[in-house]
Amino acid sequence: MSAGNLTRRKIYDRASRVVFLLATLLGVAALGILLYRILSDGLGWLDWQFISSFASRFPEKAGILSALFGSLWIIGITAPVAFILGIGTALYLEEYAKKGWFTNLIQVNINNLAGVPSIVFGILGLGLFVEGFLFGRTILSGALTMALLVLPIIVVASQEAIRSVPQHLRNASYALGASKWQTIRGVVIPAAFPSILTGFILALSRAIGETAPLIVVGAVTFIAFVPSSPLDQFTVLPIQIYSWTSKPQDEFRAIAAAGIIVLLIVLFTLNATAVYLRNKYQKRY
């Protein structure tokens, strides 16, 4: 091996470190620029009037009140439905299901559902809830669509959490004469709960940020009231932002940025909660 060859290899090696680091920093830089742009565009418009007003044709009067309540309504229904279905499915798959074609079918099906584009769930919601069940273009239709959309995420996260509960804890419970459900409720769920909760919160933040399926299901962009029942029409934060972004005037773009700031604050709060829970309840067995 010649000395020149070795030198060249060493130069490549040094250079590679720099190149890979720069590539890594691209993602970091993208996030930085994105946040900077949004803050500098929108911060000036973010005030109490913006939070407490309805949508308007005039940018200086426009606000996100109905969108904020719409998002709350959607999450308020999506969360319990997706939570029960998701944990139920995960418990069935991990604790009850015997190996076989049926279990396999459900598992493969969940993995595939996780890869279905969100807009296709929108079409499902349109065909099934809006027109099939005649719920119409309402909060209920939107929330149920969202629940199905985030279901695979919750199932997969809960499955991992349940699987990580050691078998010897279950054995201890059975040996005390606990039935299967008593063991699950008394031992498995408490031990897996922090991880389940983390996955659940992340799934909810996905639901809060989703736009496309709700457009298809039929959220409206201009609503000047606070919804009072699940069968009301609605809009949500991302859709309100979308409608402002697609307007040509610069002022509307700026309030879109202000709306994004509100949306991101909500999401970061949720994510921070998830991270906090994960760190607080690190595995203890």
């Binding site: 010897h168 054995n171 419970s173 059975y174 005390l176 004469g177 008593q182 203890r284």
Partner: protein, 250 residues
């Protein structure tokens, strides 16, 4: 009198037969030790006595196991009540990730005891019975994971006693513990046998010799010899038992 009677017991994992034609009678208020090399079926046999093998897919059993005269493999038997009456302690200390108090009360609560005073009483008596009360009485609300390995194992014993069993099955309960903790638990077993029937699987022959009244030697899924402990260790009938006792294999 015998509290457990096993007749012609065979156990299969799918195609593989793990236990061959076991017959055994275990007396009440005694300590019976199962010894034998790893994989000889002693733990598997122990787990047939409270039907813990039910949880493993593909396990099949024939023959009969009678506990206080009742065949526990009959379909009308309630497995949960059976297991309440036959406590089990495992190789690894396995307290729940809960407080000491909640660990003990887990079982009684399962079986419908909710009265606070009664639960307090059970916690105290169980911990006393497991010789742990003095060490933990001031930290009952602390997580069980804060205890040492030996304390955790005694907590598991206390937890098993809290549902008031008649029989206590122990699957190598001291193999994960240091010698001092082991000695404490052996001492405890000697006290407990006045009240409970104890069946213990051990990999440690000295332990079997020290604490048990009767000893069963298993090899390749067969019960080779079952007799009073002095006989097994000093005057075994079977050549294979003698070879194992004297350390020629295993």
């Amino acid at each position: 009198m015998s509290i457990i009677e096993v007749r012609d017991l065979n156990l299969y994992y799918g195609q593989h037969q793990a236990l061959h034609n076991i017959n055994m009678e275990i007396e009440a208020n005694s300590i019976t030790a199962f010894i034998g090399p790893s994989g000889c079926g002693k733990s598997t046999f122990l787990r047939t006595l409270n039907r813990m093998n039910d949880m493993i897919q593909g396990v099949r059993i024939d023959g009969s196991v009678k506990v206080v005269g009742e065949d526990i493999y009959e379909s009308r038997v309630d497995v949960e009540i059976l297991r309440k009456n036959i406590g089990m302690v495992f190789q690894q200390p396995n307290p729940f990730p809960k407080s000491i108090y909640e660990n003990i009360t887990f079982g009684p609560r399962l079986h419908g005891i909710t009265d606070r005073n009664k639960l307090d009483e059970i916690v105290e008596s169980s911990l006393k019975a497991a010789a742990l009360w003095g060490e933990v009485k001031d930290v009952l609300k602390k997580p069980a994971y804060g205890l040492s390995g030996g304390q955790q194992q005694r907590l598991c014993i206390a937890r098993a006693l809290a549902v008031n069993p008649q029989i206590l099955l122990m699957d190598e309960p001291t193999s994960a513990l240091d010698p001092i903790s082991t000695a404490k638990i052996e001492e405890l077993l000697d006290e407990l046998k006045t009240t409970y029937t104890i069946v213990i699987v051990t990999h440690n022959m000295q332990q079997a010799a020290r604490i048990s009244d009767k000893t069963a030697f298993f090899l390749n899924g067969e019960l080779v010899e079952f007799d009073s402990t002095p006989v097994i260790f000093q005057n075994p009938c079977d050549k294979r038992t003698e070879d194992y006792i004297t350390g020629r294999f295993g």
